[in-house]
Structures are given as structure tokens and as C-alpha cells.
């Protein structure tokens, strides 16, 4: 198909093109670009000193530490799960596979508030398990373990749903050849499968991490909002905002915005690598 023919017959007049581009750019500006700009503008309104001061407050630092801790537990667990699930689903045939894929995606369709609520019910005072835990002095709810569990729940499908279609597409010919030649299961995975799925894996981990660090609704339900103890960064943003401490709220929020922007840049790079491979 020649470019000139395409231009003549399958495109819109210039005014129409310009109008559509204008609408798209305007829409994205009002909805996406300005909010990002707003966060940095508000955070740096009075210059760098109050901004850094807001970030170095003890409550902000303990929120940051908790967020890092929570994602350092949740992301590796979901990574191992994602690899195991995609290996089982992509390399083998078994009954109920379709149902299993649907169930893995389930946490995506549950409201974050409900994702927190289910753990409140499980570990709270109205369940047998909850009462037993409380009697034995083990606190899960309104403590770090509850936050970790809620975070694992909401980020549960991220790695698996990236890897499953990717590994299904690649098939298992290469792995079968490696095993025939005498490689062990582990060797096959490390030397054959992993190099093939590394970009998809990285992509899944990135998204999983962004969500783990940024989760608000589910964590808010299980955390109990104890300042300096069970507040993650997103919860700390809410606390500051509700205290009308807008500068500090936007300063802390800017950290998460940087995380989101870095995630997008890496994602774009990975996608380019993907198409090149």
C-alpha cells in the first residue's frame, strides 16, 4: 500500500485531524497532566526548604519505612506465586485451568475497601481465629501483618497476569529440548525460560510494586491509622490533607508521583525492548 494512496483515501481532512488532536490533548491535559503538575507545584510552593522539611519529619520517615517494608514482603511473594502459577498454567494441560485463571484475576475486580474488609472479618473479634489470635497476643489487624496481607491481596494478580499469556505464547518446545538434553527443572527454568520472559517479568514486578506502595483503600481499612506505627505513605498523605497541612500532604504525595512517573518511563523502555527482541 503506497503512502500517498493511504493519505488520499483513508484519512480525515486536516481541520478534522487538528480538532481531534486538540480534543485528545486538551482532555489529557485537564485530566492527567495538570494533576501531576499540581502536585509538584503545591509541594514546592514555598521553595525547597519547607519541602525537604516535610519529607524529613519523623512521621513521614516512619511511613516511608513501613511502605518499603510492606512492598519488600508483598512483591517477592507475589513474584514467586506469579512464576509458579504461570509455569503450571502455560506448560501443562489440566482441567479447570480457565477457572484458575479467572480466580487469579479475582482481586482486580474486588473493591479495595472490600479487600480490606475481608481481613478485618477474618482476624477481628467476630471470628474464632481472630479471638484465638488476640488471646495469644498475636496482632494482625491494625498492625503490620494486616497491612502486608491486604497489600498482597490487591497486588496478587500483577505478575501472574503478565507472565501467563507471555509463556503460553512462547510454548514449551525450548524447555522440552533442554530437559531431553539432560537439564534439571531448575536449570531449564534459569537458563531457558527466564531469559525468554525477563522483560514481561520485570514489567509485572514494576506494576506490582507501584500498586503495593500506593495502595490506599484496602490498607486504610486494616491499618487503624496509628501515626508513626501503621501509617503507610498514602495513609500519611490523607492524614496531612485532612489536617489542612496541604504543603506537607503534597510534598509526601510527590514521592509517590515520582514513583509512578519512574514506573511509566521504565515501562516504556521495557516495551521498546520487548518489540526489539
Amino acid at each position: 500500500m503506497s503512502a500517498s494512496l493511504q493519505k488520499q483515501t483513508v484519512t480525515e481532512p486536516l481541520w478534522m485531524k487538528s480538532l481531534l488532536i486538540l480534543i485528545a490533548v486538551g482532555f489529557m491535559t485537564l485530566l492527567v497532566i495538570l494533576p501531576v503538575w499540581m502536585i509538584f507545584a503545591e509541594a514546592l510552593k514555598d521553595g525547597l526548604t519547607p519541602y525537604l522539611h516535610a519529607l524529613s519529619e519523623p512521621d513521614a520517615i516512619s511511613a516511608l519505612k513501613l511502605t518499603l517494608l510492606v512492598s519488600a514482603i508483598a512483591v517477592p511473594l507475589n513474584l514467586v506465586f506469579g512464576i509458579a502459577a504461570s509455569w503450571a498454567i502455560a506448560k501443562f494441560e489440566f482441567r479447570g485451568k480457565h477457572l484458575l485463571i479467572t480466580l487469579i484475576d479475582l482481586p482486580f475486580s474486588v473493591s479495595p475497601v472490600i479487600s480490606g474488609l475481608i481481613y478485618v472479618l477474618l482476624f477481628g473479634t467476630h471470628s474464632v481465629l481472630g479471638n484465638w489470635l488476640i488471646a495469644n497476643g498475636i496482632s494482625i489487624l491494625f498492625a503490620v501483618p494486616g497491612i502486608v496481607l491486604a497489600t498482597i491481596f490487591v497486588t496478587f494478580p500483577f505478575v501472574a497476569r503478565e507472565l501467563i499469556p507471555l509463556m503460553q505464547e512462547q510454548g514449551s518446545d525450548e524447555e522440552e529440548a533442554a530437559v531431553m538434553l539432560g537439564a534439571s527443572g531448575w536449570q531449564t527454568f534459569w537458563r531457558v525460560t527466564l531469559p525468554n520472559i525477563k522483560w514481561g517479568l520485570l514489567y509485572g514486578v514494576l506494576l506490582c510494586n507501584a500498586r503495593a506502595m500506593g495502595e490506599f483503600g484496602a490498607v486504610s481499612v486494616v491499618s487503624g491509622h496509628i501515626r508513626g506505627l501503621t501509617n503507610t505513605i498514602p495513609l500519611h498523605v490523607e492524614v496531612l490533607y485532612n489536617e489542612y497541612n496541604f504543603l506537607a500532604a503534597f510534598a509526601v504525595a510527590s514521592l509517590l508521583t515520582v514513583l509512578a512517573l519512574v514506573t511509566l518511563v521504565l515501562k516504556t523502555i521495557i516495551e521498546r525492548r520487548f518489540s526489539r527482541d
Binding site: 493511504q6 475486580s109 472479618l121 524447555e175
Partner: protein, 268 residues
């Protein structure tokens, strides 16, 4: 036969059961401890019913707006070249990557009466933040990537030959769009709509800051669940959550069905 089937499937099922199935089933079981009359009284309270109307109604409107603007954004990204296109394409995913609370305070600030955007509307007496209009904006924000990322691959794969043939046979550009392009992308548009709608129904973080949260006016269902929890009314919170969970499952079913339809359409 490759090794590792038993151990990987075993771990998958164990982890899935522990993290997802037991807690979800626990909530449903807990709701059975209420008797039916109590359950019904809770989920049909006027304040809750008005929250359903607000949540479902505004999610529907937001998903509809996402279809219109999402299609324009996708079209422009796939068909045209202009400076900054790559950045615009990457920014489509931002609502997905941004923590909801951060988006929430940014949108609330922008669309408040003294905010950068809100002030222009305030001149004409239109309030956006702290009204249902504000909720709609937050829901459009959160649903945008779903429509664009579902329609984009379909539009990219479309053959130009059909459009050329239509043009050669004397069809106007609008006729070609309506009769050839639109039918091809309709399944993916509907899938995107359903995904955006499902996401909007459960959304909490980006909405509560801009919503105003007035009972009967701008109170969404997820917030009602939180309010019940704060009042230690666990049964009430669970009853409403079970209703919303049923709605989510229904949407999941609809989305699966739409995706299947879209795949069949694309293959034929």
C-alpha cells in the same frame, strides 16, 4: 513432559486459597449469620439505596465518557503523528500507576472553586469538586486506561484495505467510520466500557477527596462501607459489601464474555 507440575500447581492453589479464597468465602459466610430480614433491611436503607444510585449511575456516566474521549485519544495515538505523541501515549497509563489517594488530592485541588480549573467554572456558578460532577471526573480519570488500552491494539491491527475499498466505492469518510471501522472496534469498546465501569464501582481513594461525601448527594457505596466499619457495624458493612461483591462478579462475567466475543470477532 516437563518437571514441576505438581509443585507449581500445588503452591498456586495453596497461595490462592490462603490469600484470596478463604478471606472472601469468610466474608460471604459471615453474611449468612445475619437473618434475611436483617440483611434486607440493611441493604435497602434509603441512605444505602441512594449510594447505590450514585455509585452505579456515576460509574455508568463516567464509563460512557471514557468511551467517547478514550476513542478519540486512541484514534489520535494510532492514526496521527504529532509532537509529544509518545509522551501522551505513556501518560495514558498514569491513572493506573498513580496511587489513588494522590490522584484524589490533586483532582480535588484542581477542581475546587479556587482551584486552577475549578475557578473558571465557579465564575459561571458551576461547582465541580464536592458535587457528583467531581465524583464523575475522578471516575473518568481512573477508567481512562481501560478503554484506551483495550481499543488500541484492535485499531492498530486494522487493515487499511477495507477503508480504501470503501473510499474507492464512493463512501464518505463518515460512512467508512460508521459502517467499517466502528463495527470492528465495537467489541473492544464495550469491553473497555465494562472494565472502566467495574473499576469505577469499587473505586475509593481517588473519589473521596473530591466527592464531598454528603449522604443522599455525593456518598458512594465504598464510603458507606467504611462509615459502617467506623461505627463498628460489621454486619452492616458486610451486607453492603456482599451486594457489591455480587455486582463485581456479574461484571467479571460480562467482561469475560465480551472478551471472548472480541477475540472471535478479531479472528474471523
Amino acid at each position: 513432559m516437563l518437571p514441576g507440575f505438581r509443585v507449581t500447581l500445588g503452591f498456586t492453589l495453596f497461595y490462592l486459597t490462603l490469600i484470596v479464597l478463604i478471606p472472601l468465602a469468610g466474608m460471604v459466610l459471615y453474611s449468612f449469620s445475619m437473618d434475611w430480614a436483617d440483611f434486607w433491611r440493611t441493604v435497602s436503607e434509603p441512605r444505602i439505596v441512594s449510594a447505590y444510585k450514585i455509585s452505579f449511575g456515576l460509574s455508568f456516566i463516567a464509563a460512557l465518557l471514557n468511551v467517547v474521549f478514550g476513542l478519540i485519544v486512541t484514534w489520535v495515538l494510532v492514526r496521527y503523528d504529532f509532537p509529544g505523541k509518545k509522551i501522551l501515549d505513556a501518560l495514558v497509563d498514569l491513572p493506573f500507576a498513580m496511587p489513588t489517594a494522590v490522584s484524589g488530592i490533586a483532582l480535588a485541588g484542581l477542581y475546587a472553586q479556587n482551584g486552577l480549573i475549578g475557578q473558571f467554572f465557579a465564575e459561571y456558578g458551576i461547582k465541580i469538586a464536592f458535587t457528583p460532577l467531581g465524583i464523575t471526573i475522578a471516575l473518568v480519570f481512573i477508567g481512562l486506561p481501560f478503554v484506551v488500552r483495550t481499543v488500541q491494539p484492535v485499531l492498530e491491527d486494522m487493515e487499511h484495505e477495507l477503508e480504501e475499498a470503501a473510499a474507492t466505492l464512493g463512501a464518505t469518510r463518515w460512512q467508512t467510520f460508521r459502517l467499517i471501522i466502528l463495527p470492528t472496534i465495537t467489541p473492544s469498546l464495550l469491553t473497555g466500557f465494562a472494565m472502566a465501569f467495574a473499576r469505577a464501582l469499587g473505586e475509593y481513594g481517588s473519589v473521596i477527596f473530591i466527592a464531598g461525601n454528603m449522604p443522599f448527594v455525593s456518598e458512594i457505596v465504598p464510603l458507606v462501607i467504611i462509615i459502617k466499619l467506623e461505627q463498628y457495624d460489621y454486619q452492616g458493612a458486610t451486607a453492603i459489601a456482599v451486594v457489591m461483591l455480587a455486582a463485581s462478579f456479574l461484571m467479571l462475567f460480562v467482561i469475560n464474555w465480551l472478551q471472548k466475543w472480541a477475540r472471535q470477532r478479531q479472528e474471523s
